[in-house]
Symmetry: C2
Subunit: 192 residues, 2 copies
């Protein structure tokens, strides 16, 4: 198999579409972020990378909290909008008709329409160059009751989506189940 | 829409399936990681969370480098295996029949069968509790020539997959394209 060198690239699959919520000057704002992921299990932590000049970054510095809202495919237009526009210029909550609520952390806005919402306290801010990596401890997780099956989160009801950068910037739904995790690998074990 | 409180949970969609490569005591080893993502654009950086007691963590401390290999659905069995077993007990390279090669960083093993390979130098190691978050600067990115279309990475040829934790731990392919990014949000803009 022949390999091509591309130079250093931020090319990974999948990347998420998180809607990051903060109050900026006491007004709720949301920004779409694809650079991030879970950072720790116990206690639960999440990381998101945000450019220093972003309106959202100001809000994070003001409150030292943020939310991570996971949209469903129903909200793909709104999610894209929150990645294109700046809260310094438009009112995204109004334009997207988000129903905002607050949870355990009083100053951290959450989107009711998103199936999953995490409230986070900032633990670390690392300036890595173009972005700061914000590492937040998840203080509370909310899920829409309609997205549960037998009390468990159900990916088929949540209907999350992926941001795919290459070859064309697009959003993709989750597809077919390829295999059971912590299970199919046992077939190789049997070969030993 | 009614919300349920779940307590703090590491519940996000999507999460990746990265095969993290290191030499441990000079022998190549690979471990599957779902906690991680891009951490910075310029320069390109990536974060991965690894439990301190892992064989891979030892290799990272020894070399201060690691690789991130992105498997295709063809490798789902091998990927699961590398998440189940420890390199302290089995030879994963042999069991998975990985063709290992080395790139710019001499001591950082890469998997030929994976469509995308990143070579990374460790910039930060943050002890966050159960895991250390390893932040690496991507020094070089390799792509299989067969996964390019008109010189660009093609997600339909790469065939990456997602680790889905809830409701059942499983691997899912990428699904249908829901919308064009940096585009569909313009429809909302028009409403202003």
């Amino acid at each position: 198999m022949s390999k091509i060198l591309m130079g250093p690239q931020t090319l990974v699959y999948p990347t998420p579409t998180f809607l990051i919520g903060v109050n900026v000057d006491n007004k709720p704002n949301f920004m779409t972020v694809a650079w991030g992921g879970i950072a720790n299990s116990e206690p639960p932590m999440i990381s998101v990378a945000i450019r220093h000049q972003r309106h959202t970054y100001r809000g994070i510095r003001q409150n030292m909290t943020f939310s991570v809202n996971i949209p469903s495919t129903d909200l793909v237009r709104e999610t894209d909008y929150c990645g294109i526009k700046s809260g310094a210029k438009v009112n995204k909550v109004e334009d997207c008709q988000f129903n905002v609520f607050y949870g355990k952390l009083n100053n951290t806005p959450l989107i009711e329409q998103c199936p999953i919402n995490h409230e986070c306290k900032v633990m670390y801010i690392l300036n890595l160059g173009s972005h700061s990596l914000i590492i937040g401890r998840i203080e509370e997780t909310h899920i829409s009751e309609s997205c549960l099956t037998d009390g468990k989160p159900d990916v088929n009801k949540i209907r999350p989506f992926i941001f795919t950068m290459e070859p064309d910037s697009q959003y993709q739904a989750f597809g077919e189940v390829v295999a059971k995790a912590f299970s199919i690998g046992q077939e190789l074990k049997a070969k030993e």
